[in-house]
Amino acid sequence: MRLMIPAMVAAATAATALAIATVPQAGKGQVASPVATVAVNPGSFDFRLPGEYLKADWPVDAPKQKVSFRRGFDMMKYQVSFGDYSACVDDGVCEAPDGMRQLAETPVTGVSYRDATAYAAWLSKKTGESWRLPTDEEWAFAAAERLQDDALGLPQDTANPAARWLARYAAEAGTETRDAEPKPRGHFGENSKGLADVAGNVWDWTTTCYRRATVDARGKITRSTENCGVRVLGGRHRSYMSHFIRDGKSGGCAAGLAPDNLGIRLIRDRPTFVSAVRQLWTRTMG
């Protein structure tokens, strides 16, 4: 997990920085408090790496790596609702979302990666807690049995590149609900970890960057290029979108299947001793 470490450090640093700067303020936008979260317990799992992988110049399934979460984390039980997000819009911080047919209780849709991070920063400021987007690893771990392994398991057929395109298309088409209209939160039920609507018809932005890598004969990564202009989305099938895209359908490629909707589900970092003292200090002094 060499590559995920910088991302996690960066996220943690950002969260700390936010926590330091935090002064809970009263504004127009009201936070529905407390935000319902689920404690995802420590554990480990075999994680299928995101991105595209080439072996001897031919596309292959991504390798798996064992990922451990020694501390566990707190994740929003429900996706951020249109009502929640609207409070940030009312505060003049977030931009109005693009999603159609939004009700207070449906997940907010039509939001980009930038919108998602702006909301996390706003919520952190509002609550004095540190909220951030999950990494793809965290999302996949929390998704539990609702995670769809995106390996195709095809015999490597170097004569026919179309075999993978067709298999990918068929696999993703098979997971379609044919109903992209956002549903009230809770509609898609809870997974075994108690998280609601995981892999429903709203995908979740993560901080993980798109990656293209080359693996050797044993499946070990020998070279890898990251493109952080494109981020991973967790959902019924793992997706990749440019960070400014708000509508998965129009952000998709000509001949592939795109997410139904793009939304937000955040993680709250558990306070460290230092941040807890700082928070107490800002509350007292602020």
């Binding site: 080439l54 159609m100 088409a173 359908k249 000509a254 001949a255």
Partner: protein
């Protein structure tokens, strides 16, 4: 006082007599079919199939002219036209957008029964671009809710033709809310290339393209109307702006993608019939071509060859024949790419088969830029 039904009947008799007299006076003897003989012709009743598929038919007619019976039932119903649940108060023939495709041969008689159930709100009719006279049959098929009428016309010209609803004063509204379909009149000897050599297809993909004009509320969201009548005023205003909110194949954004993607195999020949009753379009198969294209849809003109994109005029249907040579996912689009990607005019074709390295090969896979 004449009832509406009697008035309609009277018109029909008059029109038929007039048409017969004109025909007798001006058309060559060979094309003049004595009306008395029509009733002796063999009849066939065809059950229509929902698009993008087409009922079973012969490509080369095995016998002489027939009377082919079809039935269309008008269904006024709300229909979801995109993935966001946007609902249009639609008017349809047989409940599908586009209406089903009919196939006959040149010289056959099309006998259409149009049924307008009592539960509907509007009068309807049908104008066949393939038919001659009476506004394409529209004057003779005008039915109010609770009525039905039967029209017979002779298919004298070979090609793909639009048919659509054309009620007085409301033609564009009926057409852009769903009432259009396609009839294909094949030459009796089947399709031919530019040198007269026979051409055959293994399957037809019938692509009906529609553009929709859905009114928006003050917040910019699409409006939902409780009934057809209530949707009329604002829909007409949106139509007059000439800027569609949706441009779709088969009645809905994504109707021909994902689980509903079209399927073919390498080596198979597909006839794409593309119909647009109201507005110009420019079909294109990404990664493929049109081997033989009747851009105008009329089979007695030699087909154009090797086209990249073809033009289908609003109010017409075109036909493009293509043999798949490479497996993969193809996107069949209206190559106004904004309409394809943003407004919905995209279909996918999943093509199975062996890859041809001679036609295409990836010489080097994406990798960091080499330094020289």
């Amino acid at each position: 006082m004449l009832t509406r039904r009697e008035a309609l009947l009277g018109t029909m008799t008059g029109a038929a007599t007039a048409a017969f007299l004109t025909a007798a006076a001006t058309t060559p003897a060979s094309a003049r079919e004595p009306a008395a003989n029509v009733n002796d012709l063999p009849r066939e009743r065809v059950n229509l199939v929902a698009p993008p598929f087409v009922h079973a038919h012969e490509q080369i007619a095995s016998g002489g002219p027939r009377i082919v019976e079809f039935q269309l039932t008008v269904k006024e119903q709300p229909m979801v036209i995109d993935g966001d649940g946007t609902t249009m108060q639609a008017m349809t023939y047989n409940g599908s957008i586009p209406a089903p495709m009919m196939v006959v041969h040149e010289g056959d008689y099309v006998e259409l029964t149009l049924i307008n159930p009592e539960t509907n709100e509007m009068p309807h009719n049908v104008d066949f671009h393939a038919a001659t006279g009476a506004l394409g049959g529209a004057r003779l098929t005008e039915v109010n809710p609770g009525e039905q009428a039967t029209l017979r016309f002779k298919a004298t010209r070979a090609g793909t033709f639009v048919y659509h609803c054309a009620p007085a004063g409301m033609i564009p509204w009926h057409v852009v809310t769903g009432m259009s379909g396609t009839i294909m009149v094949l030459p009796r000897e089947g399709l031919k290339d530019e040198n007269g050599k026979p051409l055959k297809y293994d399957r037809i993909f019938y692509i009906g393209e529609n553009e929709f004009y859905i009114p928006r509320d003050e917040a910019g969201k699409f409006k939902n109307f409780a009934s057809l009548g209530e949707s009329y005023d604002e829909t007409l205003k949106a139509m007059r702006g000439l800027i569609p909110t949706h441009v779709v194949f088969n009645g809905k954004v994504g109707a021909l993608t994902g689980d509903n993607a079209l399927k073919a195999n390498v080596g198979e020949t597909v006839l794409f019939v593309h119909s647009q009753a109201n507005r110009d379009t420019r079909p294109h198969l990404i990664g493929g071509h049109g081997d033989h294209v009747w851009e105008l849809g009329k089979f007695h003109n030699p087909p154009a060859k090797d086209l990249e994109t073809w033009f289908v005029r609003g109010g017409s249907a075109g036909a493009a024949l293509y043999t798949f040579r490479q497996p993969g996912i193809y996107a069949y689009v209206n190559h106004n790419l904004i309409e394809a990607a943003e407004l919905g005019a995209t279909a996918h074709v999943m093509v199975e088969g062996e890859w041809d390295n001679d036609l295409m090969t990836q010489v080097s896979a994406p990798a960091p830029i080499a330094s020289y």
